[in-house]
């Protein structure tokens, strides 16, 4: 390496280092078999420490819960089902992760799965570190000291806008994982990865919630409040900017849903108030501006914003409102007679459908009718932001390993 490429490293140690040295060390670090005990121990140890240190930080708690020992064993069991004695799962090698800037825990998820299946990992962190991501990194650094056997297999670092460094890392990787807006994805894709390497891309997505109007009508007050709280968690945890957080709310049923919809929104607003959800003036202006833009570009029949926590635009048809979004509690609502009506309007960018009140068969029929044109996951209210190995249509555990097949038959027998 002739030119120096300084980067700020956060893991395994903290400091300014040369990327050339980092890559050389990483190349020499061993991979392990998937779910090697050393990796499970490291991750579950990290989970324990995060749970302790991340008190009062719900995202960190959710992360720690997701990577607790019992969950890792469950993950191991389901992973085992992907292969057998004649189809052996092996790590892919070196995985280059480019997580998003603003969801402060997301960089951990794809890294955990990749670590568990035995890969070496290099994570390019955003330079905009938050308190929460710093806490996680500190905890990782502290944990790795007690797990020297895995210390060399992960490096986390950050650097400015320098395609040269991205290219240098990309040239080393077997899998590149990009999380980001469409602009980020396109930018990174201009740098090549080796011919044998694969790429997982998690680009901008759009998500929606659906309520079966009849089912909602049957709920008593307590249940309705509960549903509103689940919806609130799904939508507001990341200021409605998580790609899995609903922006469009579908009310499905024969009758006019408006009275019930208003009942529901009133309860969501009450939850927001009770939890002290704040919309600062800049976000409030952004919401109002987006509402006005939508009125120009789509058919809006009503706009309701009794307070700033939740603004609702009633749409006359399935709106194409994907793309740039203000967040902070702006919702489009649409009445459909049956859920199946949305099929022709669904696009590739549509990710999560959070559903309440529909039977499993009805939802399965929807998936079949969609034929993969969009919607990658359907989950109950309250689970929109629950990350798992299946994401955006990928099975990450499968994508981060290769299948080696073995057939030992004797051709001469």
């Amino acid at each position: 390496m002739t030119t120096s490429m300084p980067v700020i490293q956060f893991l395994p140690t903290r400091g300014t280092v040369d990327l050339g040295d980092v890559l050389r060390d990483l190349r020499e670090a061993p991979v392990t078999a998937p779910f090697d005990q050393s990796r499970i121990d490291y991750i579950s140890d990290l989970a324990t420490r995060l749970r302790r240190k991340g008190r009062g930080l719900p995202e960190t708690q959710a992360l720690a819960y997701w990577m607790r020992k019992a969950e890792l064993h469950r993950l191991e069991d389901s992973f085992a089902e992907l292969g057998n004695d004649r189809c052996l799962l092996m790590p892919r090698g070196t995985v280059f992760h480019v997580p998003p800037a603003n969801v402060d825990t997301l960089f951990v998820y794809s890294w955990v799965l990749s670590t568990l299946v035995g890969n070496r990992n290099i994570v390019r962190l955003s330079s905009r570190a938050t308190d929460q991501s710093n806490l996680i990194l500190d905890t990782m650094r502290e944990t790795v000291v007690d797990h020297p056997e895995v210390a060399g297999s992960t490096t986390m670092l950050s650097y400015g806008h320098d395609d040269r460094l991205t290219a240098a890392i990309s040239a080393e990787c077997d899998v590149r994982v990009i999380w980001g807006g469409d602009g980020t994805v396109n930018r990174i894709r201009t740098t090549a990865i080796p011919p044998h390497a694969t790429e997982l891309v998690f680009a901008d997505r759009f998500s929606m919630a659906a309520v079966a109007t009849d089912a909602y009508r049957e709920l008593d007050d307590a249940k309705r409040d509960q549903l509103a709280e689940l919806f609130f968690n799904d939508a507001y945890w990341f200021d409605q900017l998580g790609c899995s957080s609903a922006r469009l709310v579908l009310w499905a049923g024969a009758q006019d849903p408006q009275p019930l919809a208003e009942d529901f929104y009133g309860r969501v607003r009450a939850v927001a108030r009770a939890k002290g959800y704040q919309v600062d003036p800049s976000a409030a202006i952004a919401k109002f501006s987006q509402a006005c833009r939508t009125m120009i570009e789509a058919d809006v029949s009503a706009y309701s914003a009794p307070d700033n926590t939740m603004s609702v635009l009633t749409m006359d048809g399935f709106p194409d409102v994907r793309g740039e979004f203000c967040g902070a509690g702006l919702f489009y609502q649409l009445h459909v007679t049956a859920l199946a009506e949305i099929v022709p309007h669904i696009r590739r960018a549509d990710q999560t459908l959070t559903a309440f009140g529909f039977g499993e068969d009805e939802l399965r029929d929807l998936v079949r009718a969609l034929r993969g044109r969009g919607i990658d996951r359907i989950v109950p209210f309250g689970q929109a932001l629950q990350f798992n190995r299946f994401w955006d249509g990928y099975d990450l555990l499968a994508e981060l390993t290769r299948k080696v097949t073995l057939s030992a038959g004797n051709p001469l027998a």
Binding site: G181, F288, I296
Partner: protein, 382 residues
């Protein structure tokens, strides 16, 4: 907010805006002279008619006001009228005139890559804006053209194709003065000899000074102090605009600004103004008490960003500006991205009627989490 003033003001041209009796009245009477109660009534009629005018002429505006539930019957005060977020002029070209009637498209300044506002002017509205600005400036300058000292470089207006807010501001003010002298060299150094010569020529006479607030402070006042220049500006009238953000970083507010000018140069008549490219002509002018006053054809409402309800006097909120001038584009009622507070209403006997506005600065951008792709590489998502 972008401080901008329109092109040549005292110009005669046939207005294409049919002047209503109210509009004619607002122009005919001395600026800043109408008691608030009467003004409320006059503006309400005129602005309500403008809502209907733009609804009939601008389809996007009609769609928005429909969406917001516009109903003329429910309007009791100017606070009930629908307002557009100022950012809409960046994302949409909003016009209430046929393309053939477009006389000029005003744009706000913006750094490269940033969206700029586009404001559609026909001759009628451009003319109203020019006349409005003249009327406003006449309140402090009278109807004479004073020798004018511009606290900027000549470069800023030399190339009229590279339209900057600063350039537009200077260009808009030029007609209010004569014998223009640009006090700064191209490298922003004070032209000391030129200044001495200018002041010697107009010794003791009233002169007009114009510049952007920060430039007045940094390149004019500080240079005068640093170089130990004796400049008697006691006959001067300074008009300045551009915002206090940079000065706030140096802990300089309006009071410090004025005191420092007076101490160093004897300059006592200092008027800040507040205006924006989306409402050219309707500039708010600083009265003798330091508050910004809307001229006859404009007003202000402060809104509570938590509810968008009007905030009571003394309570800071988001500034909404109203002007009866925009006929060719629906910019008559705009929700700005500025914070401000109305302290009360001026006393007509002081010569400054109307609401007493203080601008508190830009609303800070929020750092929401989740997805955003504003930074080319650092885009986040989940």
């Amino acid at each position: 907010m972008i401080p901008t003033t329109p092109g040549a003001p005292p110009r005669t041209s046939s207005s294409q805006v049919a002047m209503s009796a109210v509009l004619a009245d607002l122009f005919a009477r001395p600026q800043f002279s109408i008691p608030q109660q009467e003004k409320d009534r006059l503006l309400l009629t005129e602005l309500t008619d403008l809502v209907d005018h733009h609804r009939a002429s601008c389809e996007p505006y009609r769609r928005i006001t429909d969406g917001l539930g516009w109903s003329r019957d429910r309007v009791r005060s100017i606070e009930d009228l629908p307002y557009l977020p100022v950012s809409l002029f960046k994302t949409h070209e909003l016009s209430s005139v046929p393309p053939a009637d477009v006389f000029k498209v005003m744009t706000s300044s913006g750094t490269t890559g940033q969206a700029v506002s586009r404001v559609i002017l026909d001759r009628g509205t451009a003319d109203l804006q020019s006349r409005a600005l003249s009327a406003v400036m006449a309140r402090i300058l009278g109807n004479q053209r004073l020798p004018m000292l511009i606290i900027d470089t000549k470069n800023v207006v030399r190339d009229r194709n590279t339209f900057s807010a600063r350039g537009a501001g200077v260009l808009g003010m030029l007609p209010f003065g004569r014998r223009h002298f640009y006090a700064l060299n191209d490298d922003m150094q004070l032209d000391v000899d030129g200044l001495r010569e200018f002041l010697a020529r107009y010794d003791g006479q009233p002169i007009l000074l114009f510049g952007f607030t920060f430039m007045v402070w940094k390149y004019f006042l500080q240079a005068i102090r640093d170089l130990g220049i004796t400049a008697d500006l006691s006959g001067g009238i300074l008009v300045h605009s551009g915002g206090w953000k940079k000065l706030a970083e140096e802990a300089v507010g309006n009071a410090e600004f004025k005191a420092a000018l007076r101490d160093a140069t004897g300059l006592a008549r200092v008027h800040n103004f507040y205006g924006m490219v989306e409402q050219v002509g309707s500039v708010f002018l600083e009265g003798d008490d330091g508050f910004l006053y809307p001229p006859n054809f404009a007003d202000v409402v402060i809104r509570d960003p938590a509810t968008w309800e009007p905030a009571p006097d003394g309570t800071p909120g988001v500034v909404e500006v109203l002007s009866v001038l925009p006929h060719s584009y629906p910019g008559h009622i705009i929700l700005t991205e500025d914070r401000g507070v109305v302290h009360g209403v001026g006393d007509a006997s002081s010569g400054w009627s109307g609401k007493q506005l203080e601008i508190l600065g830009r609303i800070p951008r929020s750092e929401l989490r989740g997805c955003s792709d504003t930074h080319a590489f650092d885009g986040g998502r989940r």
